[in-house]
Assembly symmetry: C2
Homo-oligomer: 380 residues x 2
């Protein structure tokens, strides 16, 4: 039985293009928001972990130094899009190991740059260099899901419609404009059947949470939120062939997290999900057990993942509308759950939310590569 | 009282320029060496952590996938030159947190590239861009030590002479040629008073260790080596001004490690030290308490840090002669101590070694930046 750990504070910047703000400043804003909103003394922080993918050597040290946070162990972690979630688990482990009573998990990414441009593609990545970049890989997954289960482009578009609608209520979102199913289908094609509105935007942003041991949580916070499960694993998104429509890493991580937390998918009230493309959200409904394989198209169609439905999926707007600054995403998901489970999510509050699940995936999209999947379950 | 953890296996590549070998292959060789020398089943590995600075996204997943190691949590950590030592601590915490019984700490770096070239300098690093690169920073520290304590260029050169001599006995070393004090002084000047032979070379390499809980260690290894202290902190190398001749981070980390392990500097038989420049080793004699401030020049002169002296410092050859593939260094230091404390260090064995200390520093050399320092104490 692992020692209990709790989230006691959260802060985040808005996500979106911020060409004049550097990564250190984004991190500063998120950390200060967490500290100021909770009133917790920065001197309480006994370990810090910074999740990021492209911010350079000793990013955490440099960013935190600028707000006077130095001296404690600082670890920079990278797991592609799951870097932030990995930072959360690294802090959880440090607290459970007795290294500190209170730890800071920071996630930040500055992706936009003058003149724009793509994410760097790793030089030795044969598949990407031949065109199998992320949208192409997810388009193949979408094609397979359509063929196998009769999932329709309209159902996939429904994910964008829902997450854009949720985003209208969350001032931290990158894309705050509603779209209709027709607009999603008519948008410029990126990788058939995925159009521009089926893909997450390129965003900057940062998020920070404070995690505490049970004793420190009781002392520092009137309504701490327990991290009932923190699971990280590695593997492939698509283990059974060139493409597949289920994600072995996500299924395995979710099952272990449910077991650790003593809950099942039917107990989850709110889920912040890894939805870089519309099809990803549908596949992950099935991976996380929210519906049976092949049922995801109908689940979105019937509104069962709306706020007020069976399980509210990405009420924050998700990666598709809130944005996806890689390292920030996993920490921001936990911050969103912290607010939801404390009833502090304002206009996009999920009524009566008691159990939240954050699901993050990084890397591992090609057949040759292994990536990371993290599932955290939080309980009020 | 933290749960006890032990090193149960170690493996490493030779260090040196290996232009035809990529980082994944270096990692593979080190991990396989650790597994093969110990006979431990790879299926025992419940968590893996890869320390590196420049190997790109999800390096650990990609490298380990190529030898079939996937499924377990894999965390990539970065702390500049202390990335490997940070990987060790991350695995220690995961085991103490109960996440796994056995973990793999991997460190790897491929630094040489076709055509050579420098390490990338971070674009927003004002001091480096104006010439305050590593050799310049350490030259200023050397000047201050000379001025304050009368340390001589001959004494500094003595560090290179010792470490090059040790390296002659270690087949894994990059530089296997003895140098005399005169040769060090007469070598091309890099940053006065540091000549080419006062600086570590640019090397490729990898190292891996397996860390286990007490129960697993007893089951898997006939002579496990305890990690009696694992300390990581952040801060500045030079906190008191533009330069200073002692390192606040190292002093603080060492003091905490001695306290955790219940030993003092006088108990250390063998030390693998962070010696990227000759002056660094002298400064760290003082930081780690091997001699009083100002006494380091005399300590090297009197041979007290030779194999067979008061404390054998860097019998492996150290960064100066063995080489310094950034992420690999911290893990390789612990591997060296594992071999020393088991009496397996061959030609460079420190007779009767019972207590070993590994000291690694990363970043934090300028006034504006915070870095990392790790001190591990191992006991037979």
């Amino acid at each position: 039985m692992s020692a209990r750990v709790f989230v006691v504070a959260a802060g985040a910047t808005s996500f979106g293009p911020m060409p004049d703000v550097d990564g250190h400043e984004l991190a500063r804003q998120a950390v200060c928001a967490a500290l100021e909103s909770s009133g917790i003394d920065p001197a309480e922080i006994g370990i810090a972990c910074a999740g990021h993918a492209y911010q350079g050597p000793c990013f955490g040290q440099k960013a935190l130094m600028k707000i006077g946070l130095t001296g404690m162990p600082i670890v920079n972690v990278e797991n592609a899009c799951a870097s932030g979630a990995t930072a959360v688990q690294t802090v959880v482990n440090a607290i459970r190991a007795g290294q500190a009573e209170v730890g800071l998990a920071l996630g930040a990414e500055k992706l936009t740059k003058p003149g724009g441009g793509f994410l760097p593609i790793v030089a030795d990545d044969l598949e990407s260099s031949m065109g199998r970049v992320m949208p192409a890989a997810f388009a193949m997954i979408a094609r397979l899901h359509m063929e196998r289960y009769g999932t329709t482009p309209e159902q996939m578009a429904g994910v964008a419609v829902k997450n854009r609608r949720n985003a209208l209520r969350n001032p931290r979102c990158h894309l705050q404009k509603a779209v209709s199913v027709e607009e999603v289908l008519d948008a410029p094609m990126i990788a058939d059947p995925l159009t521009r509105y089926s893909c997450c935007p390129v965003s900057d942003g940062a998020a920070a949470i404070l995690i505490a041991s049970e004793g420190a949580a009781r002392r520092l916070c009137d309504a701490p939120v327990e991290i009932a499960a923190s699971v990280l694993n590695s593997g492939l998104r698509t283990p059974y062939g060139i493409v597949d429509d289920r994600s072995e890493m996500s299924i395995r991580a979710a099952n272990r997290a449910y077991e650790a937390a003593g809950v099942g998918p039917e107990d989850v009230d709110v889920c912040e999900m890894h939805d870089p493309f519309t099809i990803a959200e549908l596949v992950h409904y099935e991976d996380l057990g929210f519906c049976a394989p092949g049922e995801a198209g109908r689940m979105i169609e019937e509104g069962r993942t709306e706020i007020g439905g069976d399980v509210a999926v990405s009420p924050s707007g998700g990666l598709l509308a809130k944005g996806h600054p890689l390292g920030a995403t996993g920490v921001a998901q936990i911050a969103e759950l912290f607010w939801q489970l404390r009833g502090e999510a304002g206009e996009y509050q999920v009524p009566g939310a008691r159990v939240g699940l954050a699901h993050t995936v990084g890397g591992g999209v090609t057949k040759l590569e292994s990536g990371a999947c993290a599932v955290h379950i939080l309980t009020a």
